[in-house]
Amino acid sequence: MLGYTMPIYIYVIESLLVALILLSSFAMLSSRWVSFYIHSYAFQSFLIFILTLVLGIESQNINLYLVAFLTLFIRTIIVPYMLLRMIKKFNIKEEVKLSVKIPLSIISGLLLTVFAYFLIYRLISPFSPKIVVNASSIALSLVFIGFFMIISRFTTITHILGILIIENGIFLLSVVVVPTLPIIVELVVLFDILVTLVAMLILSMFMKMQTGSFSTAMLKRLVG
């Protein structure tokens, strides 16, 4: 939104939506159940869809409409559907194994968020409005929280979801900072998600067949 001036209610809606997006990633950090992770990922993507749609309507940008509906279609419907079908097919009811306990991981997520605010403040605050600083720090903190989720959880599905959250954060950053990005870039990114998801699902299915579990905690050494 650099270079645009918007009416104040757009600012209000945007600050509410980005706060909810951040909270949905904290909801993932605070849970032990795989299906809850997937549902809150779908909710987060839905919020990003609404944000993109609102910005598109306000800035009269056809590309943003297209990107918004592609987001709705792929991130909110297809990806959670594939993941849910996978856990239904393999009948996963186990809890996610954590290397960091839940209170500590929530507080670490908070520290990462504050760090993201600090970084964005140093980087772009002199030449951008405050709402862009807010939204892009939340986008950067989604990237950090995604990394943290990959590190601290021992299940392949949460690894996939961590990558998807990182990607959500990058997408949010691009929408908020440069909404006039060419649509081909967004298409490439969405295609990237689908390919990554399919590849990782196949890999984790192989792992399930080989080791009998989705957990990566037992993978201590490489076997040739």
Partner: protein
Amino acid sequence: MDIYLNSTIFQIFQVIIVLAFSPFIAGFISKMEEIFEGRRGPSVFQPYYDLHKLFHKEILVPSGASFIFGLTPFVSFVSMVLITLLLPVLTIYPLPLGFMGDMLAGAFLFSLSSFFINLASLDLSTSYGGLGSSRATLLAILSEPTLILVFVGVALIAKSTLPYVMLHVIVSSMPLYFSSSHFLIIAAFFMLFLADTDRRPINASTHVEMSMIEEARILEYSGPYLAFLKWSGYMKQFLLLVIFLNVLVFPWGLSVNHSPISLIIAVVSLIIKMLIVGLIAAVIDTAISRLRFFRYQEYFSVAFVLGVLAIMTFQYKGF
């Protein structure tokens, strides 16, 4: 002269309203819980009958009890009445004693009452008293950072910690009312409200020895002393609801002038708002299961995160 007299009358009326209606709200919430569980439940006026019965019993003091045992019910009751004077229960304009203290003073009075109950439960050195007071102290320690952060958030939004100022700031600025930091503060305070009034994610509020917290602390009391403690418990819930509704969530419907009609409107709207929130609290109480004792940190860390995010997003809200 007339305005001063009217303000004084309103101030007295405020205390009377809180004293009179706090058992009703507690009775309503427990009645709703019973209905949601598929039972008929006691009457809405059951807390009044309880208080009436307890006040007609004789005073029994266990042998070996020190002066703290007799002092505690009155300290608890009087601190609740003092908090009532600080809060905008009925009026949108400040009453004469409203500037006696800010929200921090209210928090201090709440913890003074809790501190004296802890002392009294430790006084007789029974096992249940020690158990209850240690659990209650742990809960207080865990909820304290969030409480402070909520105050900091309110102070940032209103540039003051007086509840009347916060109310005026929210009413006068719609973007501020709908800002994310305001909603995050509301969420954090609601989690604290559920924890402080013994609602479900934290405590079942039962008489089962395994899980009781509030009940274990006042197990030794009986008769009029117990009535005072119970009444101050009802008043605590009522006052937390007043802070939640009239300062944070919905500060409309309060009386704007000194006429009796606006007073009646204020009382009715306050009770209706409380019944709605009580309904929500009863739904939460029946829908959510109780957390294990060693998982309380998860609940309070979520509330802490909400408080910190409220402050962070307020700094860069952009309007």
